[in-house]
């Protein structure tokens, strides 16, 4: 993903966008983690 961003924007902007992307993902995971895992136990780790 970083390589993809680097083809459009300079390195500093690509770094900043990657940080935003990671923070967004972490926030989403924490916010949505009470959702049930369905039939599988892999979701329990």
């Amino acid at each position: 993903m970083y390589a993809f961003l680097r083809s459009f924007v300079p390195p500093a902007a690509a770094n900043a966008l990657m940080i935003v992307w990671y923070v967004l993902l972490i926030m989403l995971i924490v916010a949505l983690s009470p959702a049930p895992p369905g039939e599988f136990r892999y979701g329990n780790i």
């Binding site: 995971i29 983690s33 959702a35 895992p37």
Partner: protein
């Protein structure tokens, strides 16, 4: 974030810090001890079983000269133990012996069998104890694979070094793994899609049954591929590179291609230790495929529905193999548009073949699975 997830993340962080802060010579033993500690914490009985089997195998097959009775005894004990736990957990699912003991055992047994078969075939020489035990007791792959190979582990053990790029790639893979499990699997597929299917249920039972098979397949993929990402990322943090377990299976153009992309480490295990031996003895590839898929199915669960699931996939691959030899008789050179149509049709047929097999595994028993088929094919309103 639930307690088990937090505990596992803490375990990943602590393992990485402990392994890299100690001298290199000790690191394989530390990797082993971390897994022993993990098993001892969550399931001491599992630890006793895995340790007992591992030590017995190492002691009896560790010499340069091969004793075929020792190999046969180890293989028989492993297969019997696997069958015993599988039968036990099917017949008495609430018995604590069967719910506690098999933690990590299914994958452990396949790794140990791979080691034994490769030793017997002369592919492997006797392993050093630190390589052998750190391979069997490797926490990232212990619980749900991928089924990494000893050669790969031993090479990693010799070449691994501290690398910040491995660290950042590992953390990224773990993050993507949790994103697949929580955002895509748990939230979008299980919560949202399931809600939609339940609303549809009364109005159009066949559409609901069809979508439920799609939901099950997508959830299985996101959960399992997510877990594989976490395992690969965790291994990278410890300096080990593990082969990929999934390669966009829902883009497969035929059923053979699907099994090269779905749970790759398990299908490669069945290819190497069931398909190739059966074909070399019988010269019958169809029988090899059928037996491989039967083993693959029954390894998941010893039940009629998984037996049928194995036969279904085995027959699918056998028919595809037959089709490949049959179509070579004809000289047919389609144009670009025709090739595109054929590829699309082939993809749609493969996905529906796989989708219909999910009805067998998503239901608790065979009669419920047959009811799903009845709704799927005759429940249109």
């Amino acid at each position: 974030m639930n307690q088990a997830t937090s505990m596992f993340l803490i375990w990943i962080a602590l393992s990485t810090v402990i392994v890299w802060s100690l001298p290199r010579l000790w690191q394989p033993w530390i990797v082993t001890m971390i897994t022993v500690g993990f098993l001892g914490w969550f399931s001491p009985v599992s630890l006793a079983l895995l340790l007992g089997l591992g030590v017995a195998c190492f002691v009896t097959t560790g010499k340069q000269t091969q004793n075929r009775w020792a190999f046969a005894a180890n293989v028989a004990v492993l297969i019997l133990a696997l069958v015993w736990f599988r039968v036990g957990s099917s017949l008495q699912p609430d018995d604590p012996i069967f719910t506690l003991v098999p933690l990590g055992f299914s994958y452990y047994a396949l790794r140990l069998l791979h080691y034994l078969f490769d030793r017997w075939n002369g592919i492997l020489s006797p392993a050093e104890p630190r390589a052998f035990f750190s391979y069997l007791f490797f926490l990232p792959t212990l619980l749900a694979g991928p089924i990494n190979r000893f050669q790969e582990h031993d090479r990693n053990l010799r070449r691994r070094r501290w690398d910040t790029q491995n660290l950042s790639h590992g953390l990224e893979r773990i993050l993507y793994g949790y994103a697949k499990i929580v955002i895509l699997g748990n939230y979008l597929v299980t919560l949202k899609l399931q809600h939609l299917i339940q609303e549809l249920g009364d109005a159009s039972p066949a559409t609901a049954a069809y979508l439920d098979c799609c939901r099950y397949g997508l959830n299985l993929y996101f959960q399992f591929a997510g877990y594989s990402d976490i395992a690969i990322g965790f291994a990278l943090l410890l300096g080990f590179r593990i082969a990929e377990n999934f390669d966009f299976p829902f883009l497969a153009q035929n059923i053979n291609d699907f099994w090269r992309r779905w749970h790759i480490s398990l299908s490669a295990w069945c290819r190497d230790y069931v398909y190739i031996p059966v074909v070399s003895w019988t010269r019958n590839p169809r029988l090899g495929v059928l037996l491989s898929m039967l083993v693959l199915g029954l390894w998941h669960e010893l039940s009629w529905r998984y037996l049928l699931w194995g036969v279904y996939h085995g027959a699918g691959i056998a028919v595809w193999q037959h089709w490949q030899t049959w179509k070579e008789r004809f000289t047919f050179a389609p144009g670009r548009a025709a090739r595109l149509w054929m590829a699309t049709l082939s993809w749609a047929a493969t996905m529906h073949f796989v989708l219909f097999s999910f009805a067998l595994t998503k239901e608790p028993d065979l009669s419920s699975a047959l009811q799903v088929y009845e709704t799927l094919f005759f429940g249109w309103r």
